[in-house]
Symmetry: C2
């Protein structure tokens, strides 16, 4: 019986796994050198967890099920609710700020498209317990530390940054009511994703007043932070949020990543839960979906039954990133390789080959041999296929306690006493 | 709203995650140095995949669900069906033998108990396309390579080994019919897990003939391979399987792991699909469930619509292993640490601290600083809490282009020119 894989999932054959590991290892290393600690939660949680953050709509995008105990559960579509649950559980004992990262496997019951699969991996970094914009700067710098490490430059990618706090204050100064804000965010988030006509049409639905609409359109077309003041008379909140944005850009310049960063009033983020700085990372050509995005979400932990504590974070998935790196020729997983391949010139030396291989492995070296005796030429070509650095040849010399060690790069061969060989062996990188 | 984690799942806080990573990294390194390549599949597959290998009973142990497309899916309870599916898909292009490993997250809807959770990680190593018992020896050696690496000795653990092929041949020589074998395996597998009375009772249910039962009980009490011949007149199949067992023990001795390995007729493995060598790894005291187990399953790929190709493998979960390592004091994840903590003696040096930190991170070093200015003593104690190797102190000297570098172990302080400091910095282990 032949059964196919499920639509929208991936099989990771060794060459695919090498790419996945290379991406995820890079995320982990960048997180650690930026002072983040790794956490993880279960692959499934109570379904209600996802409703709290994202409302009822999210339920349609979940793989959900009921277990034999009657619990309504769902495979996680994101890890932020788990983060909020876990941090709340130990809120009093965790030193602040909390700098945590995770590289969860996530599943969403969406229609598979380019850069969007039903199962994917996502790098999440979050800082909890720091109000100041320095935490937002740290999040953006850390993502850029990774993205630079894999070879992306300001010619390849851009971080578009705005502020929900600023947007809310300016929209209110224009005359948009508090209760109109949330539905309006969803529309503004679409500005660069739909044609201008369609955008205006969506806007008319939410904002009846033509004068307000005109001001909103003018606001959405500004290109610098300085222009915000031209839109409306700014109150204290708006001014504070503008200062904050300016301070963020200053800190990003201090960190040496100014060239990657740009103010973009169009970055709104669809979700209701953002409260301050918001940002999205795009390829410069603009042909792909967002590589990642994030922002400040100061109310989430409280919504999950915890204290009123500020938080900011970011998520980067492996799908769009993988496509971009592939396009740029930057996907460079390390080659598979062996330290030693152990060849033998005659069946009688088979057990010796097994023994030498086992000793090398116990000493920490990657070593392998042929399970079947074939001629030396074939074994050497196996060694070369496996990218072995050295080949040990066990032959008649072994009866006199000697091995041939062949350097596979230079081709140079050396006759070595077995005992000396093992005595001189430095322990491999275990 | 406060929502708890789901029963039988684990939250991995940073200290738990460090343990999980330490275990899994050890599995990966042992696999690689033994010549295995990593693969992985999706977290869910078609429900039917699991029925093929394990029959309808498995369905009760699955977290299953129906997606919006009407597909019956299940979170994977094991990865072997995925392995069979993936290998079959590329059977013609994959060089043999195929030596693959994986460290999947698995879920089973079982009642949580000591060493058994509803979500866990399992190390899987498999060799496909090698009939000879050398492949079984490789599997057992690889698991022991890892288990020795974490510090377990023959005083701590034992690998109990038998052969399904031998058992089948001897049972048939006793007079057990072919169709009685499969239900009998399930009973024999329970021998060491239930009281003697209960075992005999279960046996009576399956084998009506008292003489046969007596012979089966005698067979199940033998302690060495040599005693098998005392049970019945052995045919060619039985003799071959005994030779194979003896050759396996010989190869394990050649590999230097004989002390860990023991013949044990009681190792049957419940599942129908084993066809040759079978083994289980136990703690020597015998108070825990099996740490892991495996064996030869030569018919599985064919059952999954592939060719008739031999296979052997092993699985080790993280739960029982974690308990054993904890009990033995062998759980030793590396300590968290920073290369540098950057302290500043006055608010005015905040941006300099941010800049120096960013430069160190970009050079590959793990570096962090305090988001808020506090006195130097507090910052130094933060540095020490974070296990920083060195602390950089930015103070008045910075105005003359100098930094203080404090070695946190020796306490020694040094005044260094900023430019020289960065020029002398070796690139960190990225």
């Amino acid at each position: 019986m032949k059964i196919p894989p499920v639509k929208g999932t991936r099989d990771f054959y060794p060459q695919d796994m090498a790419v996945r590991n290379w991406i995820i290892d890079g995320w982990k290393k960048a997180s650690i050198r930026n002072g983040f600690e790794e956490y993880d939660g279960p692959i499934f949680e109570y379904l209600d967890m996802y409703r709290i953050k994202s409302g009822d709509e999210i339920v349609e995008q979940l793989f959900s099920f009921t277990d034999r105990g009657g619990r309504d559960l769902a495979i996680r579509p994101e890890i932020t609710p788990t983060l909020a649950r876990m941090v709340n559980q130990q809120i009093n004992s965790l030193p602040k700020p909390i700098k945590w990262f995770s590289v969860p496997r996530l599943c969403r019951a969406e229609r598979p498209q380019k850069g969007r699969l039903r199962e994917f991996f996502q790098w999440n970094i979050d800082i909890i317990g720091e109000d100041d914009v320095i935490a937002d700067a740290e999040i953006i710098f850390t993502t850029l530390d990774y993205l630079q490490d894999v070879g992306l430059t300001p010619n390849d990618i851009v971080v578009k940054i705005s502020s929900r706090k600023m947007l809310a204050a300016v929209l209110q100064a224009i005359g948009v009511a508090q209760n109109e804000l949330e539905p309006l965010y969803a529309v503004l988030d679409k500005r660069s994703k739909v044609p201008d006509d369609a955008f205006v049409e969506m806007l008319v639905e939410k904002i009846a007043d033509a004068d307000k609409r005109k001001k909103i359109l003018k606001l959405m077309s500004i290109e610098s932070i300085e222009q915000i003041g031209d839109i409306a008379e700014l109150g204290k909140n708006a001014k504070e949020s503008i200062d904050e944005l300016q301070r963020l850009f200053e800190l990003l310049a201090v960190c040496g990543v100014a060239e990657f960063c740009r103010f973009d009033i169009g970055i709104v983020r669809g979700l209701a839960y953002y409260t301050g700085i918001v940002f999205e990372i795009y390829d410069k050509v603009g042909e792909l979906r967002a590589i990642g995005g994030g922002g400040r979400y100061d109310n989430l932990l409280k919504q999950f039954g915890g204290p009123n504590i500020s938080a900011t974070g970011c998520g980067i998935g492996d799908c769009v990133l993988g496509i971009l790196l592939e396009e740029k020729g930057l996907l460079k997983p390390g080659p598979k390789k062996l330290d030693y391949f152990i060849a033998f010139t005659d069946e009688q030396f088979f057990k010796t080959a097994v023994e030498i291989t086992a000793r090398l492995r116990r000493a920490g070296f990657a070593a392998d041999f042929s399970y079947k005796f074939t001629n030396l030429g074939k074994q050497l070509s196996q060694a070369s296929d496996r990218n072995a650095q050295k080949c040990i040849i066990i032959g008649e010399e072994f009866k006199a306690g000697q091995l041939v060690v062949k350097d596979m790069k230079t081709g140079k061969q050396e006759l070595v006493e077995v005992d000396k060989f093992f005595a001189n062996l430095k322990t491999g990188a275990k």
